[in-house]
C-alpha cells in the first residue's frame, strides 16, 4: 500500500506513548533536526504499520522518534530530532 495512505497523526501513537510517559504526549513539542520546525507531537505524521512506530516531521519527513517493543523492553530513539519537551505530569 502507498506510504501516504498509511500516514496517521501523532494522536494515533498517544496510547503507546502513554505506556511510558505519565504526561499527555500529543501536546509535547518536538524539534526537527532536518528543518528546525517545532510542532506538537499530535501534529506530526505517524506510521504505525512498521515493526515499530515511527513519528516523522510533518514539514520535511525526517524520522523524529522511533519506538519498538521486544520481549517486554521498550526502546525509544530520536534519529533526527533535537529535543522533546513536555509539561508537568498532570492530567489536563
Amino acid at each position: 500500500m502507498e506510504g501516504e495512505a498509511l500516514r496517521l497523526d501523532g494522536n494515533a501513537i498517544a496510547g503507546t506513548l502513554g505506556e511510558m510517559f505519565v504526561q499527555e504526549m500529543t501536546e509535547a513539542r518536538i524539534a526537527c533536526k532536518g528543518c528546525g520546525n517545532v510542532e506538537p507531537v499530535g501534529a506530526e505524521h505517524a506510521y504505525v504499520q512498521a515493526p515499530g512506530i515511527v513519528l516523522r516531521c510533518s514539514h520535511c519527513d525526517e524520522a523524529l522518534l522511533v519506538m519498538t517493543r521486544t520481549a517486554g523492553r521498550h526502546r525509544i530513539w530520536f534519529p533526527r530530532s533535537h529535543w522533546l519537551e513536555m509539561g508537568e505530569p498532570t492530567d489536563s
Partner: protein, 250 residues
C-alpha cells in the same frame, strides 16, 4: 474539565456495554459504563483491547462520541471489511459484555467550550465521531461561539447521527450543518453532491479574519486534501488540527 491530579501511566480498565444503537447499516454506537473512568475532553479517544480464548490480543483506537458532560461513555464504530476488531464490535458485541479500555488518550485534537473563535468542523464518513463529541459538548455547555460542520458522506443513508444533527442545527445557537453526498443523493437533493474541494471550502469556511479553530477528521486522503485546501484559503496551519483515520482502522 481541568483536573490537578497526576494521571499516572495509562492503565487498562473494564467497561460494561449498557446499550447498543445502530447508526447506519455499518455503524454502531456502543454505550459503556466505566466505573473507573476519569472523564474526558471532546476529541479524545480510547483504546479497546480484545482477547481471544487462546490469548491472542488485538487493540484499536476509537474516538469518543459522547460529550464530557454525558453520563455514559460512547464510542461509534464502523464495520470495516476484514476488520478483526470492528467486525466483533459491530456484529457480535451484546449488552452486558465487558470491554477492556484504556484512556482517555490525546490532548492535541481537543476542543473546549469557551475557546475563542468560531468552530469549523470538517468530517469525512466516520470522521464525524470526535467532532460530534465537540458539538455535544458545545450544546451541553450552552456554547454560543459559532459552529459550522461540513460533513461528507457517500449517501444519505450513510450519514451517521443524521437525526441528532438535524435537531442540533434546529436548536437555538445550533451549529450550521452542511452535507455533501458523494456517491448517491436522494430525489430532490439540493445540497452538495461531490467530494469536498476548494470551492466548497471557500463557501463553507469562516472568514480567516474571524480566527476560526478548525478540526478535520476522516480518511488520510480526505484529511490531507481538506487541510491543504484550508491553508490555500489562508487558514494558518497551526489553527487546523487533523486526525487521520488511515486507510482502515481494522
Amino acid at each position: 474539565m481541568a483536573r490537578a491530579a497526576v494521571r499516572g501511566r495509562l492503565n487498562w480498565t473494564l467497561g460494561e456495554v449498557v446499550e447498543l444503537t445502530d447508526e447506519t447499516p455499518r455503524v454502531r454506537t456502543i454505550f459503556l459504563e466505566v466505573p473507573e473512568w476519569p472523564g474526558h475532553r471532546a476529541g479524545q479517544h480510547v483504546d479497546v483491547r480484545l482477547t481471544a480464548e487462546d490469548g491472542y490480543q488485538a487493540q484499536r483506537s476509537y474516538s469518543i462520541a459522547s460529550a464530557p458532560e454525558d453520563g455514559r461513555l460512547a464510542i461509534t464504530v464502523e464495520r470495516l471489511p476484514d476488520g478483526e476488531v470492528s467486525e466483533y464490535l459491530v456484529g457480535e458485541l451484546r449488552r452486558g459484555d465487558m470491554l477492556e479500555l484504556r484512556g482517555p488518550i490525546g490532548g492535541y485534537f481537543v476542543w473546549e467550550a469557551g475557546s475563542d473563535g468560531p468552530l469549523l468542523l470538517v468530517a469525512g464518513g466516520s470522521g464525524i465521531v470526535p467532532l460530534m463529541s465537540m458539538l455535544r459538548h458545545r450544546r451541553a455547555s450552552d456554547g454560543t461561539v459559532g459552529a459550522r460542520l461540513l460533513y461528507s458522506s457517500r449517501s444519505w443513508d450513510e450519514v451517521i447521527y443524521r437525526d441528532e444533527l438535524e435537531r442540533l442545527a434546529a436548536g437555538s445557537n445550533g451549529p450550521e450543518v452542511i452535507h455533501t453526498l458523494t456517491r448517491s443523493q436522494p430525489p430532490g437533493w439540493k445540497g452538495y453532491a461531490r467530494r469536498v474541494d476548494g470551492a466548497m471550502l471557500a463557501e463553507a469556511a469562516w472568514a480567516t479574519a474571524s480566527m476560526p479553530m478548525t478540526f478535520v477528521c476522516g480518511p488520510t486522503s480526505f484529511v490531507e486534501s481538506v487541510a491543504g485546501g484550508l491553508v490555500l484559503l489562508g487558514y494558518p496551519s497551526n489553527t487546523v488540527k487533523t486526525e487521520r483515520f488511515g486507510p482502515t482502522g481494522g
